[in-house]
Amino acid sequence: MASLDRAEVARLAALARIDLDDRDLDRLSGQLSAIVDAVAKVQEVATPDVPATSHPIPMSNVHRPDEVRPSLSQEDALAAAPAAESGRFRVPQILGEEA
Protein backbone atom coordinates (compact mmCIF):
# COMPACT_ATOMS: atom_id res chain seq x y z
CA MET A 1 0.00 0.00 0.00
CA ALA A 2 1.11 3.52 -0.66
CA SER A 3 1.25 4.83 2.87
CA LEU A 4 2.01 8.44 1.95
CA ASP A 5 -0.03 10.07 -0.75
CA ARG A 6 0.93 13.04 -2.85
CA ALA A 7 -1.16 15.51 -0.85
CA GLU A 8 0.53 14.47 2.40
CA VAL A 9 3.97 14.90 0.91
CA ALA A 10 2.96 18.33 -0.38
CA ARG A 11 1.81 19.27 3.14
CA LEU A 12 5.04 18.03 4.71
CA ALA A 13 6.99 20.00 2.14
CA ALA A 14 5.04 23.13 3.01
CA LEU A 15 5.66 22.60 6.74
CA ALA A 16 9.35 22.07 6.10
CA ARG A 17 9.49 25.09 3.77
CA ILE A 18 10.82 22.94 0.92
CA ASP A 19 9.75 23.98 -2.54
CA LEU A 20 8.75 20.88 -4.53
CA ASP A 21 7.37 20.86 -8.08
CA ASP A 22 4.93 18.26 -9.46
CA ARG A 23 7.68 15.95 -10.65
CA ASP A 24 9.40 16.07 -7.26
CA LEU A 25 6.11 15.26 -5.53
CA ASP A 26 5.50 12.23 -7.73
CA ARG A 27 9.01 10.94 -7.27
CA LEU A 28 9.23 11.61 -3.53
CA SER A 29 5.80 10.28 -2.61
CA GLY A 30 6.88 6.97 -4.13
CA GLN A 31 10.26 6.96 -2.39
CA LEU A 32 8.95 8.11 0.97
CA SER A 33 6.14 5.57 0.85
CA ALA A 34 8.71 2.84 0.39
CA ILE A 35 10.59 4.06 3.48
CA VAL A 36 7.42 4.33 5.57
CA ASP A 37 6.35 0.86 4.48
CA ALA A 38 9.73 -0.56 5.47
CA VAL A 39 9.41 1.03 8.92
CA ALA A 40 5.87 -0.34 9.18
CA LYS A 41 7.32 -3.85 8.87
CA VAL A 42 9.22 -3.25 12.10
CA GLN A 43 5.94 -2.33 13.79
CA GLU A 44 4.54 -5.72 12.82
CA VAL A 45 7.14 -7.56 14.84
CA ALA A 46 7.04 -5.10 17.77
CA THR A 47 4.89 -6.65 20.48
CA PRO A 48 3.62 -4.91 23.61
CA ASP A 49 6.33 -6.57 25.71
CA VAL A 50 9.06 -4.85 23.69
CA PRO A 51 9.49 -1.31 25.02
CA ALA A 52 9.77 1.44 22.43
CA THR A 53 13.34 2.62 21.96
CA SER A 54 14.15 6.24 21.33
CA HIS A 55 17.66 6.07 22.76
CA PRO A 56 19.68 3.00 21.80
CA ILE A 57 22.38 3.67 24.39
CA PRO A 58 21.22 2.69 27.88
CA MET A 59 22.16 5.95 29.57
CA SER A 60 20.04 8.37 31.56
CA ASN A 61 20.40 11.40 33.83
CA VAL A 62 23.33 12.88 31.99
CA HIS A 63 23.23 16.22 33.75
CA ARG A 64 25.60 19.07 34.41
CA PRO A 65 25.83 21.29 37.49
CA ASP A 66 24.15 24.70 37.31
CA GLU A 67 27.39 26.63 36.87
CA VAL A 68 27.96 29.51 34.49
CA ARG A 69 30.45 28.94 31.68
CA PRO A 70 31.81 31.72 29.50
CA SER A 71 29.58 32.63 26.56
CA LEU A 72 30.71 33.81 23.15
CA SER A 73 31.40 37.49 22.61
CA GLN A 74 28.74 39.32 20.67
CA GLU A 75 31.19 39.67 17.82
CA ASP A 76 31.88 35.93 17.69
CA ALA A 77 28.21 35.09 18.09
CA LEU A 78 27.30 37.19 15.07
CA ALA A 79 30.38 36.31 13.01
CA ALA A 80 28.69 33.59 10.97
CA ALA A 81 25.39 35.43 10.54
CA PRO A 82 24.54 36.50 6.99
CA ALA A 83 23.35 39.83 8.39
CA ALA A 84 23.44 41.57 11.74
CA GLU A 85 22.33 44.94 13.08
CA SER A 86 22.57 46.56 16.53
CA GLY A 87 24.15 43.45 18.02
CA ARG A 88 21.29 41.29 16.81
CA PHE A 89 20.79 38.72 14.09
CA ARG A 90 18.97 40.26 11.17
CA VAL A 91 16.40 37.89 9.65
CA PRO A 92 14.04 38.32 6.70
CA GLN A 93 10.39 39.23 7.12
CA ILE A 94 8.81 36.53 9.29
CA LEU A 95 5.12 36.58 8.41
CA GLY A 96 3.75 36.75 4.93
CA GLU A 97 3.66 33.19 3.66
CA GLU A 98 0.89 32.09 6.04
CA ALA A 99 -0.85 33.96 8.85
Binding site: L15, H55, N61, R64, S73, I94
Partner: protein, 507 residues
Amino acid sequence: MSATTDSYEEVLERFDPVFGIEVHVELNTQTKLFCGCANGFGAEPNTQVCPVCLGLPGSLPVTNAKAVESAIRLGLALGCSIRESSRFARKNYFYPDLAKDYQISQYDEPTCYDGAIDVILGDGTTVTIGIERAHIEEDAGKNTHVGGTGGIQGADYSLVDYNRGGVPLVEIVTKPVTGMGLRTAEVARAYVATIRDIVKALGISDGRMEQGSLRADVNLSLRPQAGPGGDQNEIPFGKRSETKNVNSLRAIEKAIHFEVARQGALLSAGKAVTQETRHWHEDTNSTTPGRSKEEADDYRYFPEPDLMPVEPTEEWIEELRATLPEHPGVIRARLQAEWGFADLEMRDVVAADAVGIIEDTVAAGASPQAARKWWMGELARIANETGTDLADLPVTPEDVAELQDLVASGALNDKLARQALAGTLAGEGSPRAVAEARGLAIVSDGAALESAVDAALASQPDVLAKIQDGKVQAAGAIVGAVMKATGGQADAALVRAIILRRAGVEG
Protein backbone atom coordinates in the same frame (compact mmCIF):
# COMPACT_ATOMS: atom_id res chain seq x y z
CA MET B 1 -30.64 43.09 20.86
CA SER B 2 -27.53 43.17 18.72
CA ALA B 3 -25.21 40.19 18.95
CA THR B 4 -22.32 42.15 20.36
CA THR B 5 -24.10 43.39 23.47
CA ASP B 6 -24.29 40.02 25.26
CA SER B 7 -22.63 40.50 28.60
CA TYR B 8 -20.57 37.93 30.49
CA GLU B 9 -23.47 37.40 32.87
CA GLU B 10 -26.07 37.00 30.12
CA VAL B 11 -23.95 34.51 28.22
CA LEU B 12 -23.33 32.41 31.32
CA GLU B 13 -27.07 32.07 31.90
CA ARG B 14 -27.16 29.92 28.77
CA PHE B 15 -23.68 28.43 28.45
CA ASP B 16 -21.26 26.39 30.54
CA PRO B 17 -17.77 27.89 30.14
CA VAL B 18 -14.83 25.50 29.88
CA PHE B 19 -11.35 26.86 30.38
CA GLY B 20 -7.80 25.64 30.55
CA ILE B 21 -4.66 27.57 31.36
CA GLU B 22 -1.07 27.05 30.32
CA VAL B 23 1.35 28.83 32.61
CA HIS B 24 5.00 29.17 31.61
CA VAL B 25 7.27 29.56 34.62
CA GLU B 26 10.75 30.85 33.92
CA LEU B 27 13.14 29.14 36.32
CA ASN B 28 15.71 31.22 38.19
CA THR B 29 18.63 28.88 37.60
CA GLN B 30 22.09 30.37 37.19
CA THR B 31 22.43 28.93 33.72
CA LYS B 32 20.32 27.95 30.72
CA LEU B 33 18.62 24.59 30.32
CA PHE B 34 21.13 22.91 28.03
CA CYS B 35 24.28 25.04 28.18
CA GLY B 36 26.34 27.04 30.67
CA CYS B 37 25.32 30.48 29.42
CA ALA B 38 24.07 32.77 32.17
CA ASN B 39 20.32 33.01 32.72
CA GLY B 40 19.72 36.68 33.43
CA PHE B 41 18.01 39.81 32.20
CA GLY B 42 19.49 43.01 30.95
CA ALA B 43 22.72 41.93 29.27
CA GLU B 44 23.77 43.35 25.92
CA PRO B 45 22.10 41.41 23.07
CA ASN B 46 23.69 38.11 22.09
CA THR B 47 26.30 38.14 24.84
CA GLN B 48 24.75 35.20 26.74
CA VAL B 49 24.90 32.78 23.86
CA CYS B 50 27.14 29.88 22.85
CA PRO B 51 27.27 27.24 20.11
CA VAL B 52 24.65 25.13 21.95
CA CYS B 53 21.94 27.77 22.34
CA LEU B 54 22.71 29.17 18.89
CA GLY B 55 22.24 25.69 17.44
CA LEU B 56 25.62 25.68 15.72
CA PRO B 57 26.62 22.42 14.02
CA GLY B 58 28.41 19.89 16.20
CA SER B 59 27.23 21.33 19.51
CA LEU B 60 25.58 19.05 22.05
CA PRO B 61 23.09 20.02 24.76
CA VAL B 62 23.52 18.74 28.33
CA THR B 63 20.64 19.09 30.79
CA ASN B 64 20.95 21.42 33.77
CA ALA B 65 20.49 19.30 36.91
CA LYS B 66 19.06 22.24 38.87
CA ALA B 67 16.34 22.84 36.25
CA VAL B 68 15.26 19.21 36.51
CA GLU B 69 15.25 19.48 40.30
CA SER B 70 13.12 22.66 40.17
CA ALA B 71 10.68 21.05 37.75
CA ILE B 72 10.28 17.98 39.95
CA ARG B 73 9.75 20.10 43.08
CA LEU B 74 7.13 22.13 41.23
CA GLY B 75 5.46 18.95 40.00
CA LEU B 76 5.35 17.57 43.54
CA ALA B 77 3.91 20.84 44.87
CA LEU B 78 1.18 20.52 42.23
CA GLY B 79 0.39 17.00 43.40
CA CYS B 80 1.74 15.47 40.20
CA SER B 81 3.17 12.03 39.67
CA ILE B 82 6.78 12.08 38.58
CA ARG B 83 7.48 9.88 35.58
CA GLU B 84 10.05 7.16 36.14
CA SER B 85 11.54 7.91 32.76
CA SER B 86 10.79 11.07 30.83
CA ARG B 87 12.43 12.34 27.69
CA PHE B 88 12.83 15.50 25.71
CA ALA B 89 11.35 16.03 22.26
CA ARG B 90 11.96 18.37 19.38
CA LYS B 91 9.08 20.63 18.47
CA ASN B 92 9.74 21.76 14.93
CA TYR B 93 8.61 25.13 13.70
CA PHE B 94 9.89 27.91 11.51
CA TYR B 95 10.16 31.05 13.46
CA PRO B 96 13.52 32.62 14.11
CA ASP B 97 13.05 33.06 17.89
CA LEU B 98 15.04 29.85 18.20
CA ALA B 99 18.09 29.38 16.04
CA LYS B 100 17.72 25.62 15.66
CA ASP B 101 14.32 25.69 13.91
CA TYR B 102 13.03 23.55 16.76
CA GLN B 103 12.37 23.99 20.44
CA ILE B 104 13.49 21.32 22.88
CA SER B 105 10.43 20.50 24.92
CA GLN B 106 8.71 17.40 26.24
CA TYR B 107 5.82 15.79 24.40
CA ASP B 108 4.52 12.33 25.16
CA GLU B 109 6.60 11.79 28.28
CA PRO B 110 6.50 14.93 30.44
CA THR B 111 8.39 14.76 33.72
CA CYS B 112 5.34 15.64 35.85
CA TYR B 113 1.76 14.59 35.13
CA ASP B 114 -1.68 14.16 36.62
CA GLY B 115 -1.83 16.46 39.61
CA ALA B 116 -4.33 18.72 41.36
CA ILE B 117 -4.07 21.93 43.29
CA ASP B 118 -6.47 23.61 45.70
CA VAL B 119 -7.23 27.22 44.89
CA ILE B 120 -8.81 29.37 47.57
CA LEU B 121 -11.11 32.12 46.35
CA GLY B 122 -11.63 35.48 48.02
CA ASP B 123 -14.62 34.32 50.05
CA GLY B 124 -12.80 31.27 51.33
CA THR B 125 -14.32 28.78 48.86
CA THR B 126 -11.85 26.10 47.78
CA VAL B 127 -11.81 24.93 44.15
CA THR B 128 -9.65 22.02 43.03
CA ILE B 129 -7.99 22.47 39.64
CA GLY B 130 -6.69 19.38 37.88
CA ILE B 131 -3.19 19.49 36.43
CA GLU B 132 -2.68 17.61 33.17
CA ARG B 133 1.09 17.91 33.07
CA ALA B 134 4.08 20.06 33.92
CA HIS B 135 6.89 19.71 31.44
CA ILE B 136 10.35 21.17 30.97
CA GLU B 137 11.21 23.20 27.90
CA GLU B 138 13.50 25.95 26.70
CA ASP B 139 12.46 29.58 26.28
CA ALA B 140 12.84 31.41 22.96
CA GLY B 141 14.86 34.49 22.02
CA LYS B 142 13.47 37.96 21.55
CA ASN B 143 12.46 39.40 18.17
CA THR B 144 12.35 43.09 17.38
CA HIS B 145 10.39 43.89 14.26
CA VAL B 146 11.70 46.71 12.11
CA GLY B 147 9.61 48.71 9.66
CA GLY B 148 5.85 48.82 9.24
CA THR B 149 4.08 49.58 12.49
CA GLY B 150 6.58 47.78 14.71
CA GLY B 151 4.43 44.66 14.85
CA ILE B 152 5.23 41.41 13.12
CA GLN B 153 2.66 42.09 10.38
CA GLY B 154 4.10 44.27 7.67
CA ALA B 155 7.59 44.43 9.18
CA ASP B 156 10.44 44.78 6.70
CA TYR B 157 12.70 42.50 8.69
CA SER B 158 13.34 41.39 12.25
CA LEU B 159 16.28 41.46 14.65
CA VAL B 160 16.86 38.62 17.07
CA ASP B 161 18.56 38.53 20.46
CA TYR B 162 19.11 34.96 21.66
CA ASN B 163 20.07 35.77 25.26
CA ARG B 164 16.77 34.35 26.51
CA GLY B 165 16.82 31.44 24.04
CA GLY B 166 17.41 28.26 26.01
CA VAL B 167 16.44 29.62 29.43
CA PRO B 168 14.59 26.88 31.35
CA LEU B 169 10.81 26.98 31.59
CA VAL B 170 8.26 24.70 33.14
CA GLU B 171 4.94 24.73 31.34
CA ILE B 172 2.00 23.80 33.56
CA VAL B 173 -1.14 22.69 31.74
CA THR B 174 -4.47 22.37 33.56
CA LYS B 175 -7.15 19.83 32.80
CA PRO B 176 -10.34 21.44 31.46
CA VAL B 177 -12.14 23.35 34.21
CA THR B 178 -15.93 23.29 33.90
CA GLY B 179 -19.03 24.28 35.82
CA MET B 180 -17.63 27.45 37.42
CA GLY B 181 -20.37 29.66 35.95
CA LEU B 182 -20.07 33.30 36.92
CA ARG B 183 -16.98 32.54 38.99
CA THR B 184 -15.01 31.34 35.94
CA ALA B 185 -12.94 34.50 35.59
CA GLU B 186 -12.31 34.70 39.33
CA VAL B 187 -11.26 31.04 39.49
CA ALA B 188 -8.88 31.47 36.55
CA ARG B 189 -7.26 34.48 38.19
CA ALA B 190 -7.00 32.78 41.56
CA TYR B 191 -5.42 29.73 39.92
CA VAL B 192 -2.67 31.77 38.29
CA ALA B 193 -2.11 33.68 41.56
CA THR B 194 -1.77 30.34 43.36
CA ILE B 195 0.76 29.06 40.83
CA ARG B 196 2.72 32.28 41.29
CA ASP B 197 2.61 31.93 45.09
CA ILE B 198 3.77 28.32 44.83
CA VAL B 199 6.75 29.03 42.56
CA LYS B 200 7.79 31.90 44.82
CA ALA B 201 7.45 29.77 47.94
CA LEU B 202 9.52 27.06 46.23
CA GLY B 203 12.11 29.68 45.36
CA ILE B 204 12.37 28.38 41.78
CA SER B 205 11.22 31.57 40.02
CA ASP B 206 10.53 35.16 40.96
CA GLY B 207 7.07 34.66 39.44
CA ARG B 208 6.83 38.25 38.23
CA MET B 209 4.19 38.45 35.53
CA GLU B 210 5.03 42.02 34.56
CA GLN B 211 8.60 40.94 33.76
CA GLY B 212 7.50 37.87 31.84
CA SER B 213 8.89 35.31 34.26
CA LEU B 214 5.35 33.96 34.58
CA ARG B 215 3.25 33.95 31.41
CA ALA B 216 -0.21 32.58 30.84
CA ASP B 217 -2.19 31.40 27.82
CA VAL B 218 -5.93 31.06 28.40
CA ASN B 219 -8.09 28.55 26.50
CA LEU B 220 -11.80 29.10 26.61
CA SER B 221 -14.85 27.52 25.00
CA LEU B 222 -18.57 27.53 25.64
CA ARG B 223 -21.05 24.67 25.53
CA PRO B 224 -24.80 24.85 26.04
CA GLN B 225 -26.10 24.27 29.53
CA ALA B 226 -27.67 20.87 29.93
CA GLY B 227 -30.77 22.37 31.51
CA PRO B 228 -33.01 20.75 34.13
CA GLY B 229 -32.66 16.98 34.25
CA GLY B 230 -29.84 17.02 31.67
CA ASP B 231 -26.34 15.70 32.26
CA GLN B 232 -23.78 18.44 31.62
CA ASN B 233 -21.06 15.83 31.13
CA GLU B 234 -22.91 14.48 28.10
CA ILE B 235 -22.53 17.76 26.26
CA PRO B 236 -19.36 17.98 24.17
CA PHE B 237 -16.96 20.91 24.49
CA GLY B 238 -17.29 23.72 21.98
CA LYS B 239 -14.56 25.11 19.73
CA ARG B 240 -12.00 26.97 21.81
CA SER B 241 -9.84 30.02 21.47
CA GLU B 242 -6.36 30.18 22.93
CA THR B 243 -5.47 33.69 24.07
CA LYS B 244 -1.69 34.09 24.26
CA ASN B 245 0.45 36.04 26.68
CA VAL B 246 -2.13 37.25 29.16
CA ASN B 247 0.40 38.72 31.48
CA SER B 248 -1.25 40.11 34.59
CA LEU B 249 -3.80 38.70 37.02
CA ARG B 250 -6.23 41.43 36.11
CA ALA B 251 -5.79 40.61 32.42
CA ILE B 252 -6.59 36.92 33.06
CA GLU B 253 -9.98 37.95 34.41
CA LYS B 254 -10.60 40.46 31.65
CA ALA B 255 -9.56 38.09 28.88
CA ILE B 256 -12.04 35.49 30.15
CA HIS B 257 -14.77 38.11 30.36
CA PHE B 258 -14.02 39.22 26.82
CA GLU B 259 -13.89 35.75 25.32
CA VAL B 260 -17.08 34.61 27.08
CA ALA B 261 -18.93 37.65 25.74
CA ARG B 262 -17.42 37.34 22.25
CA GLN B 263 -18.06 33.62 21.83
CA GLY B 264 -21.50 33.91 23.43
CA ALA B 265 -22.47 36.59 20.96
CA LEU B 266 -21.32 34.45 18.02
CA LEU B 267 -23.16 31.37 19.23
CA SER B 268 -26.32 33.31 20.06
CA ALA B 269 -26.30 34.71 16.54
CA GLY B 270 -26.08 31.18 15.16
CA LYS B 271 -22.47 31.62 14.08
CA ALA B 272 -19.56 29.29 14.78
CA VAL B 273 -16.56 29.94 17.00
CA THR B 274 -13.29 29.41 15.14
CA GLN B 275 -10.63 27.32 16.83
CA GLU B 276 -7.73 29.75 16.81
CA THR B 277 -4.95 31.51 18.63
CA ARG B 278 -5.82 35.03 19.73
CA HIS B 279 -3.69 37.92 20.98
CA TRP B 280 -4.49 39.84 24.15
CA HIS B 281 -4.43 43.64 23.99
CA GLU B 282 -3.86 45.28 27.33
CA ASP B 283 -4.87 48.74 26.10
CA THR B 284 -8.32 47.78 24.83
CA ASN B 285 -9.01 44.77 27.07
CA SER B 286 -9.80 42.72 24.01
CA THR B 287 -8.46 39.88 21.87
CA THR B 288 -7.89 39.66 18.13
CA PRO B 289 -7.22 36.57 16.01
CA GLY B 290 -3.64 35.44 15.44
CA ARG B 291 -2.41 32.69 13.16
CA SER B 292 -4.62 29.62 13.08
CA LYS B 293 -3.68 27.01 15.64
CA GLU B 294 -1.18 24.53 14.33
CA GLU B 295 -2.03 20.94 15.06
CA ALA B 296 0.39 18.91 17.14
CA ASP B 297 1.16 16.91 13.98
CA ASP B 298 2.40 20.05 12.29
CA TYR B 299 5.13 20.39 14.88
CA ARG B 300 6.47 16.94 13.89
CA TYR B 301 7.51 16.15 17.46
CA PHE B 302 10.10 13.42 17.81
CA PRO B 303 12.33 12.28 20.67
CA GLU B 304 15.42 14.49 21.10
CA PRO B 305 18.27 12.13 20.19
CA ASP B 306 20.98 14.32 21.76
CA LEU B 307 19.57 14.18 25.28
CA MET B 308 19.34 11.17 27.54
CA PRO B 309 16.10 10.42 29.40
CA VAL B 310 15.49 11.90 32.85
CA GLU B 311 15.08 9.06 35.34
CA PRO B 312 14.91 10.39 38.90
CA THR B 313 15.36 7.81 41.61
CA GLU B 314 12.67 7.24 44.21
CA GLU B 315 15.11 8.41 46.90
CA TRP B 316 15.80 11.69 45.11
CA ILE B 317 12.08 12.38 44.63
CA GLU B 318 11.41 11.76 48.33
CA GLU B 319 14.35 13.99 49.24
CA LEU B 320 12.86 16.77 47.12
CA ARG B 321 9.37 16.16 48.51
CA ALA B 322 10.76 16.88 51.97
CA THR B 323 11.81 20.37 50.83
CA LEU B 324 8.32 21.47 49.76
CA PRO B 325 6.88 24.61 51.36
CA GLU B 326 3.40 24.80 52.84
CA HIS B 327 0.42 25.28 50.53
CA PRO B 328 -0.38 29.00 50.03
CA GLY B 329 -3.68 28.45 51.88
CA VAL B 330 -1.89 27.15 54.95
CA ILE B 331 0.62 30.00 54.81
CA ARG B 332 -2.29 32.43 54.54
CA ALA B 333 -4.03 31.08 57.64
CA ARG B 334 -0.79 31.30 59.62
CA LEU B 335 -0.16 34.87 58.49
CA GLN B 336 -3.72 35.92 59.39
CA ALA B 337 -3.17 34.64 62.92
CA GLU B 338 0.23 36.35 63.16
CA TRP B 339 -1.12 39.64 61.87
CA GLY B 340 -4.30 39.57 63.92
CA PHE B 341 -6.48 40.44 60.92
CA ALA B 342 -10.22 39.83 61.14
CA ASP B 343 -11.67 37.36 58.61
CA LEU B 344 -13.18 40.17 56.56
CA GLU B 345 -9.94 42.13 56.53
CA MET B 346 -8.02 39.05 55.42
CA ARG B 347 -10.61 38.28 52.75
CA ASP B 348 -10.13 41.75 51.25
CA VAL B 349 -6.37 41.35 51.39
CA VAL B 350 -6.59 38.00 49.59
CA ALA B 351 -9.03 39.35 47.01
CA ALA B 352 -6.67 42.25 46.31
CA ASP B 353 -3.82 39.76 45.97
CA ALA B 354 -1.94 41.63 48.69
CA VAL B 355 -0.90 38.79 51.01
CA GLY B 356 2.66 38.51 49.72
CA ILE B 357 3.03 42.27 49.46
CA ILE B 358 1.91 42.84 53.05
CA GLU B 359 4.15 40.00 54.19
CA ASP B 360 7.11 41.69 52.52
CA THR B 361 6.13 45.08 53.97
CA VAL B 362 5.96 43.62 57.48
CA ALA B 363 9.32 41.94 56.89
CA ALA B 364 10.68 45.39 55.95
CA GLY B 365 9.68 46.72 59.36
CA ALA B 366 6.09 48.01 59.17
CA SER B 367 3.38 46.84 61.56
CA PRO B 368 0.80 44.54 59.92
CA GLN B 369 -1.98 47.08 60.48
CA ALA B 370 0.04 49.92 58.96
CA ALA B 371 1.02 47.74 55.99
CA ARG B 372 -2.63 46.84 55.46
CA LYS B 373 -3.70 50.48 55.80
CA TRP B 374 -1.37 51.68 53.05
CA TRP B 375 -1.83 48.81 50.59
CA MET B 376 -5.57 48.39 51.02
CA GLY B 377 -6.23 52.14 51.29
CA GLU B 378 -4.29 54.75 49.36
CA LEU B 379 -2.43 52.27 47.12
CA ALA B 380 -5.49 50.12 46.33
CA ARG B 381 -7.30 53.32 45.36
CA ILE B 382 -4.48 54.36 43.02
CA ALA B 383 -4.21 50.85 41.53
CA ASN B 384 -7.93 50.90 40.87
CA GLU B 385 -7.84 54.32 39.27
CA THR B 386 -4.94 53.40 37.00
CA GLY B 387 -6.20 49.91 36.20
CA THR B 388 -3.14 48.07 37.48
CA ASP B 389 -2.51 45.27 39.95
CA LEU B 390 -1.06 46.28 43.32
CA ALA B 391 2.10 44.31 42.62
CA ASP B 392 2.67 46.29 39.43
CA LEU B 393 2.59 49.72 41.08
CA PRO B 394 6.04 51.32 41.00
CA VAL B 395 6.38 51.18 44.77
CA THR B 396 8.05 48.42 46.78
CA PRO B 397 7.12 46.94 50.15
CA GLU B 398 10.37 48.52 51.44
CA ASP B 399 9.13 51.93 50.28
CA VAL B 400 5.88 51.50 52.15
CA ALA B 401 7.67 50.38 55.31
CA GLU B 402 9.91 53.44 55.05
CA LEU B 403 6.89 55.69 54.56
CA GLN B 404 5.21 54.27 57.63
CA ASP B 405 8.42 54.76 59.60
CA LEU B 406 8.41 58.45 58.62
CA VAL B 407 4.84 58.77 59.93
CA ALA B 408 5.49 56.80 63.10
CA SER B 409 8.56 58.88 63.93
CA GLY B 410 6.55 62.09 63.53
CA ALA B 411 8.57 63.34 60.58
CA LEU B 412 5.50 63.33 58.31
CA ASN B 413 1.80 63.57 58.96
CA ASP B 414 -0.69 61.61 56.86
CA LYS B 415 -1.13 64.37 54.34
CA LEU B 416 2.62 64.81 53.80
CA ALA B 417 3.05 61.03 53.70
CA ARG B 418 0.60 60.81 50.82
CA GLN B 419 2.59 63.49 49.00
CA ALA B 420 5.81 61.54 49.56
CA LEU B 421 4.10 58.39 48.27
CA ALA B 422 2.90 60.25 45.19
CA GLY B 423 6.52 61.25 44.56
CA THR B 424 7.68 57.65 44.88
CA LEU B 425 4.98 56.50 42.45
CA ALA B 426 6.12 59.22 40.05
CA GLY B 427 9.62 57.76 40.09
CA GLU B 428 11.26 60.39 42.28
CA GLY B 429 12.85 57.85 44.62
CA SER B 430 12.08 56.32 47.99
CA PRO B 431 9.64 58.15 50.30
CA ARG B 432 12.52 59.45 52.42
CA ALA B 433 14.32 60.74 49.33
CA VAL B 434 11.12 62.38 48.06
CA ALA B 435 10.46 63.99 51.44
CA GLU B 436 13.99 65.41 51.44
CA ALA B 437 13.93 66.54 47.82
CA ARG B 438 10.51 68.15 48.13
CA GLY B 439 11.26 69.51 51.59
CA LEU B 440 8.36 67.64 53.15
CA ALA B 441 8.60 67.70 56.94
CA ILE B 442 6.40 68.66 59.82
CA VAL B 443 7.71 72.02 61.03
CA SER B 444 7.85 71.82 64.80
CA ASP B 445 10.73 74.25 65.13
CA GLY B 446 9.34 76.66 67.75
CA ALA B 447 11.24 79.76 66.60
CA ALA B 448 10.24 79.31 62.95
CA LEU B 449 6.60 78.82 63.88
CA GLU B 450 6.63 81.77 66.27
CA SER B 451 7.78 84.15 63.56
CA ALA B 452 5.18 82.71 61.16
CA VAL B 453 2.47 83.26 63.81
CA ASP B 454 3.68 86.82 64.44
CA ALA B 455 3.59 87.59 60.73
CA ALA B 456 0.04 86.24 60.46
CA LEU B 457 -1.13 88.18 63.54
CA ALA B 458 0.41 91.37 62.14
CA SER B 459 -1.56 91.00 58.89
CA GLN B 460 -4.84 90.33 60.75
CA PRO B 461 -4.60 92.73 63.74
CA ASP B 462 -8.25 92.31 64.84
CA VAL B 463 -7.86 88.58 65.52
CA LEU B 464 -5.77 88.96 68.64
CA ALA B 465 -8.42 91.19 70.21
CA LYS B 466 -11.17 88.69 69.38
CA ILE B 467 -9.27 85.88 71.03
CA GLN B 468 -8.66 88.01 74.10
CA ASP B 469 -12.43 88.72 74.14
CA GLY B 470 -12.91 84.97 74.56
CA LYS B 471 -13.56 84.07 70.89
CA VAL B 472 -10.87 81.41 70.91
CA GLN B 473 -12.15 79.90 67.65
CA ALA B 474 -10.87 83.02 65.86
CA ALA B 475 -7.41 81.45 66.23
CA GLY B 476 -8.40 79.14 63.38
CA ALA B 477 -7.83 81.90 60.84
CA ILE B 478 -4.25 82.34 62.06
CA VAL B 479 -3.61 78.58 62.13
CA GLY B 480 -4.87 78.46 58.54
CA ALA B 481 -2.59 81.32 57.50
CA VAL B 482 0.43 79.65 59.10
CA MET B 483 -0.38 76.30 57.47
CA LYS B 484 -0.64 78.08 54.14
CA ALA B 485 2.63 79.89 54.70
CA THR B 486 4.41 76.63 55.53
CA GLY B 487 2.87 74.57 52.72
CA GLY B 488 0.82 72.45 55.11
CA GLN B 489 3.90 71.34 56.97
CA ALA B 490 3.39 73.12 60.32
CA ASP B 491 2.60 71.16 63.45
CA ALA B 492 -0.95 72.50 63.85
CA ALA B 493 -1.26 71.85 67.60
CA LEU B 494 1.96 73.71 68.26
CA VAL B 495 0.85 76.68 66.14
CA ARG B 496 -2.39 76.94 68.09
CA ALA B 497 -0.56 76.88 71.39
CA ILE B 498 1.73 79.72 70.26
CA ILE B 499 -1.24 81.87 69.18
CA LEU B 500 -2.98 81.42 72.52
CA ARG B 501 0.23 82.22 74.35
CA ARG B 502 0.57 85.44 72.31
CA ALA B 503 -3.00 86.37 73.26
CA GLY B 504 -2.26 85.58 76.87
CA VAL B 505 -5.07 83.03 76.96
CA GLU B 506 -4.92 79.46 78.25
CA GLY B 507 -5.89 76.82 75.65
